[in-house]
């Protein structure tokens, strides 16, 4: 997030899109709800589903799935045409405005209405609301990123906020809500194929030199690696021979599971390190038992870039060991000795090679976490990004055109499928499904559908139905719901026995390599 969670409550207008906030980030959603109820902030929700937050919204806009770039460009079209943009901000702090202007020119409210199904009056109204708010905040989540054009969607939102100068001040910003506890930290730590810690590119010779010195090695690769979503198909092609998977369960969370399963069979050697014998671990040649968050010391970085302490409360079961110690043991046995006395020792090394974490210590975050960038020990941290300037100096507008979803409904597969989460379960369910109470509340997978579609395809509430895509099929219970939209069904992806990802499409966003979970075409059969 460019801004903090607490900061949301100071916004005059909040635009939420592609985030089912009350279910996926419940505590954060109460900041939004309080802003609306007790500080009369305006709330606009742009979402194909009638999510809970809609009840609090001044305006709910339902876009056709996969058309986000279109409505965002439409807003900018109106804002530019009516000269509502922040001229000072655009002049002083950004570049690329002329090009943006040219690109959004054709996105007239009429044109936008045709593609997205959003009434042109609504486009004009939200455009005015956003542009004229004193401080407007944008919140988004996987509904925006899990598309073939996910990177475009994110850039479009950044364009919108820069255009109106809703950036770098309290109550503004572009705020991605991270789904998992330490997505932010995993990225910051260089758990990505193209960057070291703090996003230092692996192609930058200085960065490589720095790491080689710090780690006492030579010959670090400077060519970008493969993403998770590329590695698995590459196993099928015989390029990847071995995977070492730590704490992930791709055989439920990956798209196009049937294909992913075949890829795993082609691996020569699979190591899985986890808490449980997950679907993925069952396929492994070696399984290594690790400890969970309550059994270890360390840090997580939350969605607002706040680095916070994790503390050991209980002993792990049996012979389970802390993840980093297992990895170090393997390294040592491969001839590169790695050993640390404590998590804090590792953190001290992180500080040396990670400029944005350099000023953070376990002592400093003992009571409350600190927001990175925090370059020095006397730096207070940075709750709000881009307040004086952008990382690259001036903010660059990216002129972005529309790419339709990779797979659209047709006669054979007439329905859009979108996937997501429910409040009582989490991700692939390996953790939440061990709590009986959570299972009692959300025991099994379902397909959410409108009454009208249920009638049309002749399926009954509470009855089993087969959902079929070009890649696979699963059996789930029908749930007729006012949350659904005609023509689109929703299935949560937590349930291995009816994994929604047997249906989803493996097509990736060309830059972020995120699979297009949010839209694919399916049909129903009883």
């Amino acid at each position: 997030m460019t801004n903090t969670i607490g900061d949301i409550e100071t916004a005059d207008m909040i635009l939420v899109t592609g985030s089912n906030t009350t279910e996926n980030h419940p505590v954060l959603s109460s900041f939004v709800k309080r802003a609306v109820k007790f500080r009369s902030a305006k709330l606009v929700v742009v979402d194909p589903r009638k999510i809970k937050l809609v009840e609090y919204a001044d305006k709910w806009i339902r876009q056709a799935v996969g058309t986000d770039v279109v409505w965002i460009n439409g807003l900018m079209h109106v804002i530019i045409k009516e000269a509502l943009f922040n001229k000072t901000f655009v002049n002083d702090r950004t570049e690329g405005f002329e090009e943006l202007k040219k690109t959004v020119e054709k996105f007239t409210p009429e044109h936008v209405e045709k593609i997205t199904g959003i009434a042109k009056e609504d486009i004009i109204e939200i455009a005015r609301m956003y542009a004229t708010a004193k401080a407007a905040s944008i919140l988004y989540c996987m509904g925006i990123t899990q598309h073939i054009c996910g990177t475009d969607n994110v850039k479009s939102l950044a364009n919108l906020s820069m255009l109106c100068g809703h950036m770098g001040k309290p109550g503004t910003g572009v705020n991605p809500l991270r789904g998992q506890n330490n997505v932010q930290g995993a990225c910051d730590m260089g758990g990505l194929p193209v960057v070291f810690t703090a996003y230092q590119p692996v192609s930058n010779p200085d960065a490589v030199k720095k790491m080689e010195n710090a780690w006492g090695v030579t010959g670090i690769s400077t060519s970008p690696g493969l993403t998770a979503t590329e590695m698995i198909p590459k196993a099928h092609d015989g390029i990847i021979k071995s995977l070492y998977i730590i704490g992930e369960n791709p055989l439920v969370s990956d798209p196009d599971l049937n294909h992913a399963e075949k890829c795993f069979e082609d691996l020569e050697f699979l190591v899985v390190q986890d808490l449980f014998l997950t679907e993925t671990a069952q396929k492994a040649d070696v399984v290594l038992p690790s400890t969970c968050f309550a059994e270890k010391d360390g840090t997580f970085s939350n969605t607002e870039r706040r680095v916070q302490r994790v503390r050991k409360a209980v002993e792990g079961p049996g012979d389970a060991k802390i993840d980093w110690a297992i990895t170090c043991d393997i390294a040592s046995r491969m001839g590169y000795p790695m050993s640390y006395n404590s998590s804090e020792d590792i953190f001290e090394e992180i500080r040396i090679v990670t400029p944005s974490y350099a000023g953070i210590t376990y002592d400093r975050i003992d009571k409350t976490g600190i927001h990175w960038p925090c370059p020095s020990i006397d730096h207070p941290g940075t709750p709000i990004l881009h307040s004086a300037q952008f990382t690259r100096g001036k903010g660059l507008f990216h002129a972005i055109d529309f790419i339709p979803p990779a797979e659209e409904p047709d006669n054979e597969y007439p329905l859009n499928l979108t996937t997501g989460r429910v409040i009582y379960q989490y991700h692939t369910g390996t953790m939440t499904r061990k709590t009986e109470g959570l299972n009692e509340r959300a025991p099994e997978s379902f397909v959410e559908i409108t009454q009208k579609d249920a009638d049309k395809y002749n399926v009954k509430n509470g009855k089993k139905v087969r959902v079929i895509s070009r890649r696979g099929e699963i059996e789930v219970i029908v749930q007729i719901s006012p949350k659904a939209v005609d023509g689109t069904v929703f299935i949560p992806f937590h349930y291995a026995e009816a994994a929604a990802n047997r249906l989803t499409n493996g097509r990736l966003d060309p830059i972020a390599k995120i699979p297009e979970y949010k839209v694919c075409a399916v049909k129903l059969a009883s």
Binding site: V27, R178, L192, I246, L288, S343
Partner: protein, 376 residues
């Protein structure tokens, strides 16, 4: 103007910020002013009447939570009038319902004797689940008040136990309204309310239905707010607060990163509460953070390394498993090059774990094939 903001509490001159209540000033200076219904972040109502103070020159006592500090105000927080009033209020609360921890003792008049007896009964269904962790009991003890047997029959609705997380026991409710504020003003879920605004008899969910059929999403904010034993965590109702250690840490589920206390007894997590007063969550949690911790002590946890032999996984010692992994990875790296190996790290693990995983990929395997499933 600022320098004139002086108030005198218990003969100490204290400065305050304009707009602060007497309670807020007192809290800031660590003056122990008791409250029951006050909930930080919500509008004060003065409902419970416990935080009353005496203000020189005023006839009546005032609720400190709802009275603004004023210049030259002279306040006493434990004067005789204050203490007498508090005693009366406490007694009334105790008499309102099934507060058997302080109801006039069946045998003898001895407070200690009574406490011994109740403690001996620990774990019985008779015993209030909040025993030892109850603001009303604390106050009864502090002001040496015992309850009367309830004059009229108190709320005798059966305990609500039909949902998996929360037990509601209206027989112990003192109608302070804190849960309603927690639900309405902090979490903004609006699931519960007084049955009747003017003459409340109990707290109801929706039009008086079980929580599980109401708007409730089991965030548990109301449990954390309730000063007595009327709302408790179902699974922790027999655990005694004073036998637990509290360890502050960060929730392991979503990216909000709520600050939580893990309450631990005998190496088992018994309950989770939100850490009050610190960002990002200021004490609030959601259902997963508060109740989704059973996986930690699940019997399904892996306790030994496993090695696949003839298509089946069998248990192994660390040395054998690690040697196998190291030799296999070395062999594959030698035969097919570093880029034939990939490492998937995890957005669930700590920064330290992730850092070591990428260092392993880059410094040991010499590949940039390292990623995590943030995209998924």
């Amino acid at each position: 103007m600022g320098e004139q903001n002086k108030i005198i509490i218990n003969n100490n001159e204290l400065s305050f910020k304009s707009g602060e209540t007497i309670l807020e000033v007192a809290k800031r200076y660590n003056i122990d002013l008791p409250t029951l219904c006050h909930l930080k972040g919500s509008v004060p109502t003065g409902r419970c009447g416990i935080c009353v103070v005496e203000i020189q020159g005023m006839d009546n006592l005032r609720a400190a939570c709802a009275t603004k500090a004023e210049n030259s105000m002279i306040v006493f927080t434990e004067s005789k009038a204050v203490v007498d009033t508090r005693k009366k209020v406490i007694k009334e609360f105790l008499s309102m319902g099934n507060h058997n921890c302080a109801v006039s003792r069946p045998s003898g008049n001895d407070w200690t004797h009574f406490q011994m007896k109740v403690q001996a009964d620990d774990n019985s269904a008779e015993l209030c689940p909040a025993w030892g962790d109850c603001r009303l009991q604390d106050l009864a003890y502090r002001y040496q008040v015992t309850g009367e047997k309830p004059a009229a029959p108190y709320q005798t609705d059966p305990m609500e136990i039909v949902n998996p997380f929360i037990i509601r026991d209206s027989s112990r409710c003192i109608l302070c309204g804190k849960c309603v504020k927690a639900c309405r003003e902090i979490q903004v879920n609006d699931a519960i309310d007084f049955d009747n605004a003017d003459a409340p008899k109990k707290i109801i969910a929706g039009d008086n239905k079980p929580l599980k059929d109401s708007e409730c999403v089991f965030c548990g904010e109301c449990i954390q707010a309730c000063p007595v034993g009327a709302l408790v965590e179902k699974d922790a109702r027999f655990d005694r607060g004073w036998q637990e250690k509290k360890i502050k840490t960060t929730c392991t589920y979503c990216g909000v990163g709520c600050q939580i206390y893990l309450h631990v007894k005998d190496n088992i997590i018994t309950r989770v509460t939100g850490v009050e007063g610190v960002a990002p969550n200021y004490g609030s949690l959601c259902v997963k953070g508060r109740f989704g911790f059973n996986f930690v002590s699940s019997p399904e946890r892996l306790t030994k390394p496993l090695i696949k032999e003839n298509g089946k996984l069998r248990e192994a010692e660390w040395d054998e498993a690690l040697d196998l992994v190291a030799s296999k990875l070395s062999q594959i790296k030698k035969d097919h090059g570093p880029d034939s190996i990939g490492v998937l790290t995890s957005a669930r693990m700590s920064n330290e774990d992730n850092y070591i995983a990428q260092k392993f990929a880059r410094a040991v395997l010499k590949t940039n094939n390292i990623d995590h499933c943030a995209r998924l």
